[in-house]
Amino acid sequence: MSANLSAILYLVSGVLFILALRGLSSPETSRQGNLFGIIGMVIAVTVTFLSVGNFSSGFIYVIIFLAIGGSIGAFIAYRIPMTAMPELVAGFHSLVGLAAVFVAISAFINPSAFNLGTPGNIKLASLIEMAIGAAVGAITFSGSVIAFLKLQGIMSGAPITFKGQHLLNALLLILIVILTIYLCSTQSSNLFWILIAISFLIGFLIIIPIGGADMPVVISMLNSYSGWAAAGIGFTLENTALIITGALVGSSGAILSYIMCKGMNRSFFNVILGGFGATDQTSQSQNKEQRPVKSGNADDAAFLMKNASSVIIVPGYGMAVAQAQHALREMVDTLKKNDIKVSYAIHPVAGRMPGHMNVLLAEANVPYDEVFELEEINNDFANADVAFVIGANDVTNPVAKTDPQSPIYGMPVLDVEKCKSVLFVKRSLSPGYAGIDNDLFYKENTLMLFADAKKMTEDITKNL
């Protein structure tokens, strides 16, 4: 296949990837978009086979390895529970990162296969691109592994900080730049290995100080990195499909990180520098005063809801942990049978990744046109009779609007307290991840329901 023809076909697959993302602008077009993505991928892979044109024994092995990886991927995709999506995505990011590292290593060892020169005499531009691809890929890999371990609960979600952490990271980054410069002049393979090793270390170091609830930002950020790594490799291989995709994914992840940071009213650097919650938690719990709380049982909650004409549900990470989404939808079905209007309010950072709650509700067969974003629904709380907060906490805290001293001051929150009554399902009075007491607990119109989210929801349904 001629180089020009394959370049055009790579461009076609790049365009199909753009259409795949474009399709996600609404659920109706999204499935078609995904199909475009698959077609784009098939074109890219086929063109690569045809342009390499080597159908010797190596080709059979490529197919075998492709099949092995593919079946592992398919198996995971069908088995993974929807509550585990954040872990899955973090895990997938790590694979993209590592694949980028491997391709860069291979290109470094055998540059002639990629038309980049000969070992020890690689074209300067290619060497720089390769080094960038490998470094970003390695950072993505080790960062994603840490994110995965934290999300999976294998590693504590608490931020790990130590003195001089930021200084160390900065020094390591400078070291990477220096190594790249030396690599260009000496073409030494030892330097290349050291560069990759240090990049792995950086990925590890920048993710450990970030707390569990900041994971939406981290995952989006790693998403972005995996894109930049792919783009770096795309420049090395002079491949348009890879460059376009890398740029798309890179900017997509960056935008998601921005949206997540805005949802928490924190700057990107504030999240990256980490350590949020670790210091506040201790100081807050010491001076915690005992304030009266009204608590109730499923019966009380059912009574309140039965007499309501509109109910707004506010789900959060706790719903995912308790796997309560199906029980919740059953409760809502019963409410609807009684002609009660029900809608769902989703905060941008609810859950552990962007859009996490929406997927869980969709899984429980909640129609997506009953689910609303913060700006769409926030004015409705004042007119609603009951707000049912299930597994959310900080995103409902009125302190964010009233107390400039609070660490979450200025964060956009759901105006849950404006409802006539608030039902708050929670296991205990403990503060959320930010370590801040939620004023909502002590409001006159709040009824605390201390129980496991799933069990409480089921009990309410029985009492309706």
Binding site: G37, Y78, L95, F102, V103, A107, N110, P354
Partner: protein
């Protein structure tokens, strides 16, 4: 004077960042999780590089020091391609509109 082909690739890269910027802002927030899984799947187009690397061995030598990295990268990228697209498909199939029959 001739323009370095690198400049063309850089132009594509920069323009794609802008395309990505506008396309992603138009993604509805409720589909942000599928967005992440699908970007994951498409970034595995890095398999293109992995295939070239894997087939780089000289005649008769399938596994050389450089092609082994290619084969490893193929496995990783394939997990991602199949896993990413299929899990996205699975998620998107769950998004349903309200039934009109009530």
């Amino acid at each position: 004077m001739e323009i370095d082909p690198f400049i063309f690739r850089l132009s594509i890269f920069i323009l794609s960042i802008f395309v990505g910027y506008y396309v992603v802002w138009s993604v509805t927030p409720s589909l942000h999780t599928p967005l992440m899984s699908v970007t994951n799947a498409i970034s595995s187009v890095i398999i293109v590089g992995a295939i070239i690397a894997a087939l780089s061995g000289s005649d008769g030598v399938v596994f050389s020091s450089s092609s082994i990295y290619g084969f490893l990268a193929i496995i990783l990228a394939a997990v991602n391609i199949f896993g990413g697209f299929l899990v996205t498909q699975r998620m998107l199939a769950m998004y349903k509109k309200k039934k009109k029959d009530k």
